[in-house]
C-alpha cells in the first residue's frame, strides 16, 4: 500500500526545507544561480514582488511555460504562486507538477472572502500570516507550511519582524492559559479550537514557519532565524541587488550560522549594492500586500 499526498508527506517537505533559503527567480539562468548558491528551493515567478509593486495592475499566476523552463533547469524543489482563493490556478500548478504552491498576497486576490481549500490537493501549500489566528486558519484550510507576510518587494524587514513577534507573543499567551480558557482564546484568535489546543501542546505552530517579505541582507536573515523562524524566503532581495550570486551565497550561510556573529561579519563583507528599500509609511494603504487574506 502506497499513500500519496498525506499531510505527513506535505508537511514533511517543509521540514526538509528548514534552515534553508527559498529564492524568487524569473528565468532558468536565475534558478541555476540560486541552486549553485545553495538555495534549498526556488519560487518560479514572472516578476519579483518589487516589479509587481512597481507595475501595478492585476498580478496573476505565472505563465506555465516560464514555470516549466525553471523546473527543467534545476533539481531542487520548485514552488509557484497562485492568487488567494484561485483554486483553478492551483489546479493548473498541481498539474504542472510544482513541488509547493504559495497561495500568495503578492498576487491580486481572486476571492475577497475565501481561501483555497488546500485539503483537496496532493501538492502542499504555504500561506502567509501576520498573527497566530491567521496562521491557524490557513493550517485549518490545509496549509502544510506558514510564512510571515512581511511587506513584499520593499527590502524592509520591519513588517516581517512585527509578524513573527506577534505570532510568538500569541503562542506564549496560549501556552500559559489553563485548558478551560482555550475555547475563548480560539474565539478571540478566530482560529480553529483543535489547532489552538495543538499549539499549547507543542509550544509552537504545528507546521514549519518561514520568514518572508522584506529580507534583503544576511543580517536580516539571521535576525529572522534568531527570532525563531525555521528558514527564509528571499523575494526581490537577491536579483534586485548588485551581485546576486555573492549575496545569495551570503544569505544561505547566514541562515545556517545565524547564531555566530563572527561568521556573519565575514560573510557580510563586500556584498555590493543591496536592493533599494521602501519605507512602509510611504506605501498607500490600498497598496499594502499584507492586508490581503481573510
Amino acid at each position: 500500500m502506497i499513500e500519496k499526498g498525506t499531510f505527513t508527506v506535505k508537511a514533511g517537505l517543509a521540514q526538509m526545507l528548514k534552515g534553508g533559503v527559498i529564492m524568487d527567480v524569473t528565468t532558468p539562468e536565475q534558478a541555476k544561480i540560486a541552486e549553485k548558491a545553495g538555495a534549498c528551493a526556488v519560487m518560479a515567478l514572472e516578476r519579483v514582488p518589487a516589479d509587481i509593486r512597481a507595475a501595478g495592475g492585476i498580478a496573476r499566476m505565472a505563465d506555465p511555460a516560464v514555470i516549466k523552463r525553471i523546473m527543467d533547469a534545476v533539481t531542487i524543489p520548485v514552488m509557484a504562486k497562485c492568487r488567494i482563493g484561485h483554486f483553478v490556478e492551483a489546479q493548473i500548478l498541481e498539474a504542472l507538477g510544482v513541488d509547493y504552491i504559495d497561495e500568495s498576497e503578492v498576487l491580486t486576490p481572486a476571492d475577497d472572502k475565501y481561501h483555497v481549500n488546500k485539503h483537496m490537493f496532493k501538492v502542499p501549500f504555504v500561506c502567509g500570516a501576520r498573527n497566530l489566528g491567521e496562521a491557524l486558519r490557513r493550517i485549518g484550510e490545509g496549509a502544510a507550511m506558514i510564512r510571515t507576510k512581511g511587506e513584499p518587494g520593499t527590502g524592509n524587514v520591519v513588517e516581517a519582524v512585527r509578524h513573527i513577534r506577534q505570532v510568538n507573543d500569541e503562542i506564549r499567551w496560549v501556552c500559559n492559559l489553563p485548558d478551560d480558557e482555550l475555547m475563548t482564546a480560539a474565539k478571540e484568535l478566530q482560529a480553529p479550537y483543535e489547532l489552538v489546543v495543538e499549539v499549547k501542546r507543542l509550544g509552537r505552530l504545528p507546521v514549519v514557519n518561514f520568514a518572508a517579505g522584506g529580507i534583503a541582507t544576511p543580517a536580516d536573515a539571521a535576525l529572522m532565524m534568531q527570532l525563531g523562524c525555521d528558514g527564509i524566503f528571499v523575494g526581490s532581495g537577491i536579483f534586485k541587488s548588485g551581485d546576486p550570486m555573492k549575496r545569495a551565497r551570503a544569505i544561505v550561510a547566514a541562515t545556517t550560522y545565524y547564531n555566530d556573529p563572527q561568521v556573519l561579519a565575514e560573510i557580510s563583507e563586500d556584498l555590493g549594492e543591496p536592493m533599494v528599500g521602501i519605507d512602509i509609511s510611504t506605501i498607500r494603504p490600498e497598496e499594502r500586500m499584507q492586508d490581503r487574506g481573510w
Partner: protein
C-alpha cells in the same frame, strides 16, 4: 546506551527531528555546524534536506574532509535521504560528495513532490516500520562491502556498510525509534 554523544549535521534540513529522536533513545544529541565540533562525538547523522545546499556548506566550511577522515577511522555515520546522496560513491547525474559508501544513488528517483509517499517497509534484522519518502532517492546498485537491508518495490532503499548506514526514507518523521536505536547501538 547512556553516555553516548551523537552529532547531527545542522547545516540545513530536518536536523531538529533527528535530535528529538536521539533524546528519546536516551543519548545526548549535539548540533554540528563546524569541523572542530566533530571531535568528541560517537556517531554522526546527516539529515534530510537539500543535498546541494548541505553539500556546498559542508565543503565551504571544511566539514567534508573531517567527516571522511573520522568515518575512515570508524566513526558511525547515518545518512537519511539527502544524507544518503552525500554518502554515495556514485550519483546518477551529479558529482558525488563524500564518496564513503559503495553504492550508486539516483536523486529525486520517484519524481516530484506529488509522487512523495508513505508505505510499510520490512527491514532485515529490524522488522516492519513505516517509511516516509519525500522527493526521495533510491540506490541503483551496490558493490564491495555494501549490504542491502531493505528493498521496496524492486528498489534498494536501505544500505549498510560496516558502521555506515543510508536510508532513502525518513524515520525521524515517524514515532518509531527502531532505526535510531539500531544506529545508536552501532555507535
Amino acid at each position: 546506551m547512556a553516555g553516548k554523544r551523537i552529532g547531527v549535521l545542522a547545516l540545513q534540513g530536518a536536523f531538529i527531528e533527528h535530535e528529538a529522536c536521539l533524546k528519546k533513545c536516551g543519548v545526548e544529541a549535539v548540533q554540528i555546524r563546524k569541523a572542530e565540533e566533530i571531535e568528541g562525538i560517537d556517531g554522526l547523522i546527516i539529515p534530510g534536506g537539500e543535498s546541494t545546499t548541505i553539500g556546498r556548506l559542508m565543503r565551504e566550511y571544511g566539514l567534508d574532509t573531517r567527516i571522511i577522515e573520522k568515518a575512515r577511522e570508524g566513526m558511525p555515520v547515518w545518512g537519511t535521504c539527502a544524507g544518503m546522496i552525500l554518502l554515495a560513491k556514485e550519483l546518477d547525474t551529479d558529482e558525488p560528495w563524500l564518496k564513503l559508501m559503495d553504492m550508486k544513488v539516483k536523486r529525486n528517483a520517484y519524481g516530484r513532490q506529488v509522487d512523495s509517499f508513505e508505505t510499510e517497509l520490512d527491514i532485515k534484522d529490524i522488522g516492519k516500520i513505516k517509511g516516509v519518502f519525500i522527493r526521495a532517492p533510491y540506490v541503483e546498485k551496490v558493490w564491495g562491502e555494501a549490504e542491502v537491508l531493505c528493498i521496496h518495490d524492486d528498489k534498494i532503499v536501505m544500505v549498510r556498510q560496516g558502521k555506515l548506514l543510508a536510508t532513502s526514507f525518513h524515520p525521524e518523521l515517524t514515532d518509531d525509534l527502531k532505526i535510531h536505536q539500531y544506529f545508536v547501538e552501532l555507535c
